[in-house]
Amino acid sequence: MSEIGVGHYLTLSAVLFTIGVIGVLTRKNAIIVFMSIEIMLNAANLAFVTFARATGDLGGMVMVLFVIAVAAAEAAVGLAIIVAMFRHRETVNVDVFNTLRG
């Protein structure tokens, strides 16, 4: 294998993203779903950094920093919600929370 180019990193990012999506779609445990979302975010981060490196624009890396910060906030709030959900229904099965049905 020759030089590792931008394309490789991007392909890796796409694969990781897809894995995250499949996890979100397939798992019923709310926490696992959350973790899959984190995988997706990471894949996006990878893409950002790749492009930042390739174009020499620092903005991409700064973006990643913010993504990490926001992901932290989101994880905190999301887990708090999951805890609250668990208190209500004694479970974290996403299928149980279907009151939006109509």
Binding site: G5, G56, V62, V77, V83
Partner: protein
Amino acid sequence: MSGLAVAFWILAAVAVLASLLVITSRNPVASVLYLVVSFFCLAGLFVTLNSHFLAAIQVIVYAGAIMVLFLFVVMLLNLGTPQWFDVAATPLKAAALLLGVAFVGALAATGLGSFEPVARGPASAISPDVLGSTEAMATALYSTYYLPFLVTALLLLVAMVGAVVLARRER
């Protein structure tokens, strides 16, 4: 093969494997731990891309703080054992797999593998070696991106308050 290439391939393989294991493990605790592994790999990939600062941040914040939080919640809610309901219906699994493959396939078909972006912006100002260093990042963060930085700080405050409120026990 250069050391960079070797590192990339190893790190990439492990990352993908760990992610797959995250989404297929029956035990939530195992999933969390696999995710940590994946994050570490990603941090390594950041290093190969010369963004050392972000690699450090990835490890400290993501793998260190967020995953620990996840683990706390898993242990708190006593979800440490495989859950009976955690199997999706086969049609759903098939659909998800299909869509995923379609997604990657579509991207790959447009030549993602040999993508070469055109350099834009003030690229020549900073050399690639110095690009991801802490010094460069700090300079950018506290000058050009100062406002988003402050807003993010506010966001974190709000999130903290929100998390406390949401997880409070109803009396």
